[in-house]
């Protein structure tokens, strides 16, 4: 009988082994001069760069700036996505009218919006937040609408048969019924918003992780680029885990 602790330790050991092997092969190849340091720096050089960037504050400052931008865009996307999603989900009329427009705008990648964003918003913060917003909005909207559509109509009928007042019906019936889909949308949306950070910070920025990466590229500082990428990945993962935790607590009735 394999205990749970042993199993997760087993996986942990495998993860560790995988990472150590990759880093070892990488270090060996670098030391033997097989790798061009500009194309792929050695792991110890990357480690040094991490220490440098943390010490002079560049890493954490830019990280907080990017995180705050993403949060602004994401929270806006969540708020509008959920409220509009509820309206469209509940109204067959609205659903039919808006469906075509949504399906047409959704596939356009945020990067393609950059020229328009610069024209509309100039080169300030709002343009960047708008791009990040675009990254998450449609995903959240569509998931909310789907969530409302796939709620068991038998349950909706029960609420109707009790003459439930409108706001009670929305808060105790519609939203919880759609909650699993809403959370899926929120998680996917957050990950999309994160992926837009670099694109958003292309709109003339001198701060943020995206700027850090682009600026480093111009000076051939590939190690800084890699550290920036790693940071984006790690922060993204942390935010996703936080959201998953919130989801688990909220949906404990499933």
């Amino acid at each position: 009988m394999v205990s749970k602790a042993f199993r997760s330790t087993g996986y942990f050991i495998e993860y560790l082994a995988l990472i150590i092997s990759i880093i070892s092969v990488w270090t060996i190849m670098s030391n033997q001069g097989h790798l061009n340091t500009i194309i792929l720096p050695a792991p110890n050089s990357i480690l040094e760069t991490i220490v440098e960037l943390v010490a002079d504050g560049a890493l954490f400052t830019n990280m907080f700036i990017s995180v705050s931008r993403v949060l602004q865009g994401y929270l806006l996307a969540a708020f509008l996505g959920i409220s509009l999603g509820i309206l469209i989900g509940l109204s067959k009329h609205l659903d039919r009218v808006t469906e075509l427009i949504i399906q047409m705008i959704k596939p356009i990648p945020p990067i393609a919006w950059i020229p328009l964003v610069i024209l509309w918003f100039g080169i300030g913060e709002s343009g960047k937040v708008f791009l990040i917003f675009l990254g998450g909005f449609f995903t959240i909207l569509i998931n909310v609408v789907d969530g409302i559509h796939q709620t068991d109509p038998k349950l909706v009928e029960v609420s109707r048969s009790m003459e439930t007042p409108f706001w009670k019906h929305i808060s105790l019936m519609v939203i919880p019924g759609a909650a699993p889909n809403i959370f899926t949308g929120l998680r996917t949306g957050l990950s999309s918003c994160w992926m837009c950070v670099v694109a958003a910070e292309l709109v003339s920025s001198t701060t943020g992780l995206g700027y850090l990466i682009m600026d480093a590229r111009q000076f051939g500082q590939t190690d800084v680029v890699i550290v920036g990428m790693l940071t984006i990945g790690i922060v993204g993962k942390i935010m996703d885990s936080l959201l998953r935790y919130a989801e688990k607590k909220t949906l404990r009735w499933i």
Partner: protein, 267 residues
């Protein structure tokens, strides 16, 4: 058996009146009469069972009485007022428990209650949870309950607002035989205590004879009334008494004409 209802004898206005109710569907350009000229009435405090085979329109009739489906011919009157939409004064118990999975038992039971102070609501909900025998499960989620328990919670939910009429659509159909009998007894007991008028749809003849004061047998395709009887058996009802079986046999014969039990049969 058969004969005039109590209100007709006393020349009082009946409480629930079904007046020339009909409903049809159009399928493949053909008109299907699900319900055809249904007429009957019942008194306040009575239990009426509508018995019929599956698909005979009995659920459609119940939904019309509840107001969930007002697209029909004729009219339905309760206490003199026409039924056109769902109302809190008509509680419904469906065949599936239909509890909201994201609410606890007590939150589900109390769902319909609005505009009353918190302590009163809590007391009322507790009273009905205990009435249906679910004491101790107030904070449980539906996923933790068995079929019978969920159905009981559904009954508590329908009763907590003290509706004037309780409508039940094959409420015990999905349960095993033992749970079914236990809940039938429970329902009869609750009805005697609360005096709620009940209309129940079922395909279980024994269930109808056990519970009802008044039985209507519905034919299918088209849905027409085949038989209407008053059940005058004493309460508590003995399922195995001769009188009980006589009533049951009378209704049984409406469905299975070729199997008449000879009078001198004995084991």
């Amino acid at each position: 058996m058969g004969g005039l209802s109590a209100s007709a004898l006393l020349k009082q206005e009946p409480y629930l009146v079904i007046d020339h109710v009909s409903k049809y569907f159009v399928q493949k350009k053909q008109r299907l009469n699900v319900l055809e000229d249904i007429n009957f009435s019942m008194d306040k405090g009575e239990i009426l069972c509508i018995v019929g085979a599956s698909g005979c329109g009995k659920s459609t009739l119940l939904r019309a009485i509840s107001g969930l489906d007002s697209d029909h011919g004729g009219q339905i009157l309760i206490g003199g007022k026409e039924v056109v939409s769902p109302s809190k004064s008509r509680g419904i118990v469906f065949q599936e428990h239909r509890l909201f999975p994201w609410l606890t038992v007590e939150q589900n039971v109390g769902y319909v209650l609005t505009g009353i102070p918190k302590e009163d609501k809590k007391k009322l909900v507790q009273e009905y949870i205990e009435l249906v025998g679910l004491k101790g499960f107030e904070k449980a989620y539906p996923k933790e309950l068995s079929g019978g328990m969920s159905q009981r919670a559904g009954i508590a939910r329908a009763l907590v607002n003290k509706p004037e009429v309780l409508l039940l659509d094959e409420p015990f159909g999905a349960l095993d035989a033992f749970t079914k009998i236990a809940l039938q007894k429970e329902l009869k007991r609750i009805q005697r205590k609360s005096g709620t008028t009940m209309v129940m749809v079922t395909h279980d003849i024994e269930e109808a004879v056990f519970l009802a004061d008044h039985i209507i047998v519905l034919d299918s395709k088209p849905g027409k009334i085949k038989l209407e009887v008053q059940v005058e058996l004493p309460v508590p009802r003995d399922r195995n008494s001769y009188e009980f079986l006589q009533v049951k046999k009378r209704i049984y014969e409406e469905f299975f004409e070729d199997e008449k039990i000879p009078d001198d049969f004995s084991i």
